[in-house]
C-alpha cells in the first residue's frame, strides 16, 4: 500500500461520481473513484432512460462542458423520442431508452482507458480532514486525497422495504454504508430521510406485447454528444410499449393498504410527489384507476423489462397479483421485486454554489445524497462538484452556472438556496427563462463557461466553429430581403409562405406563425445553393423565431433580475430588528448570497423582502 495522495477522491461510482471523475480528470489531475465492490460504474438501478423534459437540456449542458453522459447515452440508446414534439421548440426535449448493460460497460471501459482515473472498489467507512488532507478509511486501506467529492447516492443508512420485509442496503443485493454523520465528520444531514422506489422487473417471455400500444424509436431525434453524427445509431433500435392499469389493479392495491410500508408507518421518509408509487396513486386519487404503464426494455442482453409507472413496495405476492391484472401482463413473472429505499440526505443549504460544504472546506457533494432524483440531475451536479474541486486545487475561479442560461444552474441554485422537503427533480417550470434555455442552443449558452475552464480541447474548437457559423447564418437571415416584386410574390405563393405585401427579410419570414422556422431556412438555403451544418441551421432558426418573445420576457425579467442579482449581507439582515424571528432562522440556515436566493426561500415574508430590497444599495 503506497502513500500516494490523490488530488481528488470521489466516493461513489454512480452517474454523479462518474461525471465528477471524468470532468476533474480533464484538468490532468490524479483522480480516484472509490466505489462499492459489487456495484458497477454508472449502473442504472431504476428507469433505464436518459433525458426527458428539462433533463435532455441537462445532458446536453453536461456534454458541452466536457462531461461523459451524452456520449454514453448515445452509444447505448435503443429507443429515441422527442418529448413535447407538438408543443413548440422551446419545450422539446430528447429522451433515450438505454441499454443499461452497454451503458455501464462503456463507462467502465472509458474510465479504465483514462490514465488520470484510478478505480478503488472498497466500501468507505469514514472520511475525515487531517492537516489539510482527507483520510478516507475503507475496508483495508486508507486513501488520502486533497479534495473529496461525495456521490454516495442512496447508500448512506440505506434501508430497503418490500412489504413487511426490511433489509439494509442502498439498492437490491447491495451493501449499505454508514450514516452520513458517521461517515463524514462535521456534515449536517437533513433531519428527515428521503425515500425512493422502483417497480418490479418483469421477464420478457411472460409479457404479451400484442395487447399494448407500440412506441417505435424515432429515427430523426438527434444524438446528445456534439461530435456524434446527429442521427447515427450505435445499437439496434427497439420499441417500448404502453399499457394501462384498471379497476382491478387499483382495487387490489387499495385492499392491501395496511400492508404498504409507505402508508402503514413502516417508512417515515419523504418520497417525491412527482414520481409517486402506485400505492400513492391508488390511495391519493381514489377516483382514477387508469394509469399509464410504459413497458421498457432494460437491455438487449437482459431478459428483464421495466414497467414504468408502477413503482411499489408492497409485499411480493401482492405485487404479482396486481401486475397480473394489467393487459398484456396477465402471465407476467417477476424477476426482481419492486422495493422502496430510505437514505440519508445532506442539508444542501450548507453547501455553496460550487457544491462545496461550507462546514468542511474541500468536501463536495453531488447527486442523490443531495436529495435529488434522476441520473441527469446527479450527473449535472457531479460535473459541477468535480470541476470545482479541480478548479479549487488549481486555484482558479469556480464554475458557477447562472440560472438564466442553464438548467444545471437552476438546479444548483435551488439546492443551495432552500431546504428540500422532498426529493428534487428538475422541471422546466423551475427556470424563469425557458424560451432561452433550450436544447438546440446549448453549445452557445454554455460556451463562455466552457471557455473559462481554459482547457482548449477539440470541444472548445468545435464550439468556436459552431458559434461563428451561427453568427454568420444569423446575419445572413437578417440581411436577406425579399422584395415585394411579382416574381417573389409568385414564389411565396408557390412555397406557401403566405402573402408578400412589403419587403421582408428571411428572419422576419420565419417568424410567421404558420411556418416552421427550421424547415423554412433549410429550404431557402438550399434554393440559394448555400450549405450550412444542420445543427447550426436548427439553432439559428429557433433562436430567430423566439428572439422577440425572449426580448419581451427579458424586459420583465430584468426588473426582477436586477434586484435578484444584487448581493446581500445575510449577517446584517439577521441582526436587524425589523426581521421576524422565523425569517431570521431561515436566513441563518440558508445563508443566501443574493436577493434572488433570499426570494426563493420558502417562508420569507414579503415585508422582509421589502425591507431587504429597501436597504440594498
Amino acid at each position: 500500500m503506497d502513500n500516494k495522495i490523490f488530488d481528488i477522491a470521489i466516493i461513489g461510482g454512480g452517474h454523479a461520481g462518474l461525471e465528477a471523475a471524468w470532468t476533474s480528470a480533464q484538468f490532468g489531475l490524479n483522480v480516484a473513484i472509490i466505489t462499492m465492490p459489487e456495484v458497477s460504474i454508472a449502473s442504472a438501478p431504476c428507469n433505464p432512460a436518459v433525458g426527458g423534459v428539462g433533463k435532455g437540456q441537462v445532458v446536453r449542458e453536461i456534454d458541452a462542458l466536457g462531461g461523459i453522459m451524452g456520449k454514453l447515452a448515445d452509444r447505448s440508446a435503443i429507443q429515441y423520442r422527442i418529448l413535447n414534439e407538438s408543443k413548440g421548440y422551446a419545450v422539446q426535449s430528447t429522451r433515450v431508452q438505454i441499454d443499461k448493460e452497454v451503458y455501464t460497460r462503456e463507462a467502465e471501459q472509458m474510465v479504465s482507458d483514462n490514465p488520470n482515473i484510478t478505480v478503488i472498489r472498497k466500501k468507505v467507512n469514514k472520511t475525515s480532514l487531517k492537516e489539510g488532507c482527507f483520510e478516507i478509511v475503507t475496508d483495508g486501506e486508507i486513501v488520502k486525497s486533497k479534495k473529496v467529492v461525495v456521490t454516495t447516492g442512496t447508500f448512506l443508512s440505506g434501508k430497503m422495504h418490500v412489504g413487511e420485509e426490511q433489509s439494509t442496503g442502498g439498492r437490491v443485493d447491495c451493501d449499505t454504508a454508514g450514516s452520513l454523520d458517521d461517515v463524514f465528520e462535521g456534515v449536517k444531514a437533513l433531519p428527515k430521510k428521503f425515500k425512493t422506489g422502483t417497480p418490479p422487473r418483469l421477464k420478457r417471455q411472460t409479457i404479451d406485447f400484442s395487447q399494448m400500444d407500440e412506441q417505435e424509436s424515432d429515427p430523426l431525434t438527434m444524438n446528445f454528444h456534439y461530435s456524434h453524427d446527429s442521427k447515427e445509431r450505435f445499437v439496434e433500435q427497439v420499441s417500448c410499449h404502453l399499457t394501462r392499469t384498471n379497476d382491478n389493479t387499483l382495487g387490489i392495491i387499495r385492499d392491501n393498504k395496511e400492508r404498504s410500508p409507505i402508508f402503514n408507518g413502516q417508512i417515515k421518509a419523504v418520497g417525491p410527489r412527482y414520481c409517486p408509487s402506485i400505492e400513492d396513486k391508488a390511495y391519493r386519487y381514489e377516483d382514477k384507476n387508469s394509469h399509464h404503464v410504459f413497458v421498457e426494455p432494460e437491455s438487449l442482453e437482459l431478459d428483464t423489462f421495466y414497467p414504468n409507472g408502477i413503482s411499489t413496495s408492497l409485499p411480493k405476492e401482492i405485487q404479482l397479483d396486481f401486475i397480473r391484472t394489467i393487459p398484456g401482463l396477465e402471465k407476467a413473472e417477476i424477476e426482481i421485486y419492486g422495493y422502496a429505499v430510505e437514505y440519508d440526505v445532506v442539508d444542501t443549504t450548507t453547501l455553496d454554489r460550487s457544491l462545496q460544504s461550507q462546514d468542511v472546506p474541500g468536501l463536495y457533494f453531488a447527486g442523490q445524497v443531495n436529495g435529488t432524483s434522476g441520473y441527469e440531475e446527479a450527473a449535472g451536479q457531479g460535473l459541477v462538484a468535480g470541476t470545482n474541486a479541480a478548479l479549487a486545487l488549481l486555484e482558479k475561479e469556480p464554475l458557477i452556472l447562472d440560472r438564466e442560461v442553464s438548467y444545471i444552474g437552476v438546479m444548483v441554485e435551488d439546492l443551495v438556496s432552500d431546504k428540500r422537503d422532498e426529493p428534487y427533480r428538475l422541471f422546466t417550470a423551475r427556470s424563469e427563462n425557458r424560451l432561452y434555455v433550450r436544447e438546440d442552443n446549448t453549445l452557445l449558452r454554455i460556451l463562455p463557461f466552457r471557455k473559462a475552464l481554459g482547457l482548449d480541447s477539440d470541444l472548445d474548437k468545435y464550439m468556436d466553429k459552431f458559434e461563428l457559423a451561427f453568427s454568420v447564418l444569423t446575419d445572413l437571415c437578417k440581411n436577406t430581403t425579399y422584395k415585394a416584386n411579382p416574381k417573389n410574390k409568385e414564389y411565396f405563393k408557390s412555397m406557401n409562405y403566405g402573402p408578400l405585401t412589403a419587403n421582408i427579410t428571411l428572419s422576419e419570414l420565419i417568424k410567421r406563425a404558420q411556418l416552421d422556422p427550421v424547415e423554412t431556412i433549410t429550404k431557402e438555403l438550399k434554393a440559394n445553393g448555400l450549405l450550412f451544418d444542420e445543427k447550426v441551421i436548427r439553432t439559428t432558426a429557433i433562436s430567430l423565431k423566439y428572439e422577440g418573445y425572449i426580448n419581451r420576457a427579458d424586459i420583465e425579467n430584468q426588473k426582477i433580475l436586477r434586484l435578484a442579482k444584487k448581493s446581500i449581507n445575510w449577517n446584517k439582515i439577521v441582526s436587524s430588528e425589523n426581521v421576524s424571528y422565523e425569517c431570521k432562522q431561515r436566513i441563518t440556515e440558508i445563508r443566501p448570497e443574493t436577493f434572488g436566493q433570499l426570494q426563493r426561500i420558502t417562508g420569507i415574508r414579503p415585508a422582509t423582502l421589502a425591507y431587504v430590497a429597501g436597504n440594498l444599495v
Partner: protein
C-alpha cells in the same frame, strides 16, 4: 425620494404645521427605550406605563419648553411596531416647531421623511402595502366612497379580491407547467382541460376587476349632476329648485368661468356637485361656442346627466355634440304650452337616449298634460338613435324600479321669467325624483365595488390589456413555451398590483403622497 432608511429614532408633527390649533401632536418613534428620553422629562420616565396619558413638563437644556401630555406605545404593540411616544403639546406652530427642533438639536432624533412612520409600519409587517395605500386613501379622501375604499384596504377586503386574482393566476400557471413537464403523467386531454378551465376562471376574475375600474374615478370621487339643454329649456329653474330644496353646502365657487354655475349639494349621504351649463345650441359665435364645448366636456365626465327639452322645440332639437350621450333623465318641459297632442314615444325618438323620461309643466295652473300621451312605453333607442323608432315600441318586461318605464308626469318647473306664485309641493316632486335617481345610481355604482386608487386602476387596466393579448395568444398558438413566457409578463403585472415584491418605485410613489408624521 428614496426610502433607504436607517434605523435612527425619528421625530415629526402628526397634526400639521400650517395653522395654530389648540393641540398639536408630536410623535417620536424608534427610540431604544424610555430611558433614551430622560433628559426631556424630569418625571421618572423609564417607569412610564404604556398606553396611559401622563401630564408633565417637556424640557430641553434644562429649560421648560411646554406643558404636555405624553402617551407611550411600546413596540411591537404600536402603530409601526417601534417604540412610539406621542406628545400632545399646545398647538401653536412656533411652539411645535421649537419642540421638534429641540429633539433634532439633541442629536438623538432626526426629522422623519415623508410617510416614514408608515414606511416603518410596512417594514415591521404592521401593515401590508395595500393597507398602506388604504391608509393613504383614508387620510386623503375627498369623498365618502374614497373613505370606504381606504377602510376596505386597511381591513383587507379589497386585498382579498387581489389575492383571489393571484391564486387564480397561480392555477393557470400550474396548468401551463403541467402541460409541459407532466404530459406523460397526466395525459393530453386532462391537461388541456385544466388549462382551459383556469383561463376562463382567471378571465372572469380579471373582468370583474376591470368592471370595478371601468367607472370613471372622477365621477365617483367628485360626482357631477349636470343639467344641459337649450337656453330656454328651464335648466336654471330646475337648478334653483334643487338648490332651494336640498341643502346647499357651499355658495357659488365656480368663479373662474362665466359659462357654467356649480353648487355643492347633499343628496342621500353623499356630496354632489350640481352643474348648470351654458345653453346648448348650434352657434357661430366663437365665445359661445367655447362655452358650449365646456358644457359638453362637463357632460362627458358627469356622473348624472339630465337633459331638459322644451316640448315644443323637440322637432328643432339637433344638437349633434350630445347625440351619442346617454342621459339619465330627459325632462320635457313646457308641456302646458303644447298645442298638439303628441306621444312621448315620438318625441323621444328625436332625442338622445335616456334611462328615465319625465314631462313637466311650466306652472301647475294650466295643466295641459293630457295633450301628451304618457306611457306605456319602453326605454327608447335600444337600437341606433334616429328615425327607426317611429313604430309602436313594446314595453320591456325586465325594466327596473317602477315598472314599465314611462314618462312620468311631474309638477311644473318654474320658468325663470314667471312672476306668479310657485307651487312648492309640485316643485318638490321633480327634485325628489331626481334625488331618488341620483342616489340609486350612486348606490348601484358603489355596489359594483369600484376601485378608486389610481395606482390600482392603472395596474388593473394593464393587467386587463396584457391578459387580453395573452388570451389571444393562447387561442392561436400551439407553442406552449411562448404561452408560458408570455404568462410571466402577466405575472409581473399582477405582482406589481399586489405588491408582493414591490419594486422601489412603487414604494417611493406611495410614500411621496404622505405628509410628514402620518
Amino acid at each position: 425620494m428614496n426610502y433607504i432608511t436607517d434605523d435612527l429614532p425619528i421625530v415629526a408633527c402628526s397634526t400639521g404645521l400650517s395653522e395654530n390649533t389648540a393641540i398639536g401632536i408630536i410623535r417620536l418613534s424608534g427610540f431604544p427605550s424610555l430611558d433614551y428620553l430622560k433628559d426631556f422629562f424630569k418625571i421618572n420616565i423609564s417607569e412610564l406605563e404604556e398606553r396611559k396619558a401622563t401630564f408633565c413638563n417637556l424640557y430641553f437644556n434644562e429649560i421648560v419648553l411646554d406643558e404636555v401630555v405624553i402617551t407611550f406605545f411600546k413596540g411591537p404593540r404600536s402603530y409601526n411596531g417601534e417604540n412610539i411616544l406621542e406628545i400632545s403639546a399646545h398647538g401653536n406652530i412656533f411652539n411645535l416647531k421649537r419642540i421638534i427642533e429641540s429633539f433634532v438639536a439633541s442629536g438623538l432624533f432626526r426629522l422623519a421623511s415623508q410617510g416614514e412612520f408608515t414606511y416603518r409600519a410596512l417594514l415591521n409587517k404592521k401593515l401590508t402595502l395595500a393597507q398602506v395605500e388604504g391608509l393613504d386613501a383614508l387620510l386623503n379622501a375627498s369623498s365618502s366612497l374614497m373613505l370606504d375604499q381606504g377602510l376596505d384596504l386597511l381591513n383587507g377586503k379589497l386585498y382579498k379580491r387581489y389575492k383571489e386574482l393571484s391564486a387564480s393566476y397561480l392555477k393557470l400557471k400550474s396548468a401551463i407547467e403541467m402541460n409541459i413537464d407532466f404530459m406523460e403523467d397526466v395525459g393530453e386531454e386532462e391537461s388541456e382541460k385544466l388549462l382551459k378551465d383556469s383561463v376562463s376562471k382567471l378571465s372572469s376574475i380579471i373582468e370583474s376587476l376591470n368592471k370595478s375600474v371601468s367607472i370613471s374615478s372622477k365621477s365617483l370621487m367628485s360626482p357631477d349632476v349636470v343639467l344641459v339643454g337649450e337656453p330656454n329649456a328651464g335648466k336654471s329653474s330646475l337648478f334653483n329648485l334643487i338648490l332651494n330644496d336640498s341643502r346647499s353646502i357651499v355658495s357659488d365657487i365656480a368663479g373662474t368661468t362665466r359659462d357654467f354655475i356649480t353648487e355643492y349639494i347633499s343628496l342621500g349621504t353623499n356630496t354632489f356637485r350640481l352643474v348648470d351649463t351654458a345653453g346648448l345650441r348650434e352657434t357661430t359665435d366663437v365665445i359661445e361656442e367655447e362655452g358650449i364645448k365646456r358644457s359638453v366636456n362637463l357632460l362627458d365626465e358627469g356622473f348624472f346627466k339630465v337633459l331638459l327639452v322644451n316640448v315644443n322645440e323637440v322637432d328643432d332639437f339637433k344638437f349633434s355634440a350630445i347625440k351619442d350621450t346617454s342621459f339619465d333623465m330627459i325632462i320635457f318641459t313646457h308641456v302646458d304650452q303644447l298645442t298638439n297632442k303628441v306621444s312621448v314615444n315620438e318625441l323621444s325618438s328625436k332625442l338622445p337616449q335616456a334611462t328615465h323620461y319625465y314631462v313637466s309643466n311650466t306652472s301647475s295652473k294650466n295643466n295641459n298634460s293630457e295633450l301628451l300621451e304618457v306611457g306605456p312605453m319602453g326605454p327608447l333607442n335600444n337600437g341606433p338613435t334616429g328615425a327607426d323608432n317611429s313604430g309602436p315600441i313594446e314595453p320591456l318586461s325586465s325594466v327596473s324600479e317602477s315598472g314599465p318605464m314611462g314618462a312620468k308626469f311631474l309638477g311644473p318647473i318654474e320658468p325663470q321669467s314667471q312672476t306668479g306664485p310657485i307651487e312648492p309641493v309640485a316643485g318638490l316632486c321633480i327634485v325628489s325624483e331626481l334625488t331618488k335617481n341620483v342616489v340609486s345610481k350612486y348606490q348601484l355604482l358603489k355596489s359594483s365595488d369600484p376601485i378608486l386608487i389610481s395606482r390600482h386602476r392603472i395596474k388593473i387596466e394593464e393587467i386587463t390589456q396584457v391578459f387580453s393579448e395573452f388570451h389571444h395568444n393562447i387561442n392561436n398558438l400551439s407553442d406552449i413555451g411562448i404561452i408560458s413566457s408570455e404568462s410571466r409578463i402577466l405575472e409581473g403585472k399582477i405582482s406589481e398590483l399586489i405588491g408582493v415584491v414591490s419594486p422601489d418605485d412603487v414604494l417611493n410613489n406611495i410614500f411621496s403622497n404622505f405628509c410628514i408624521g402620518k
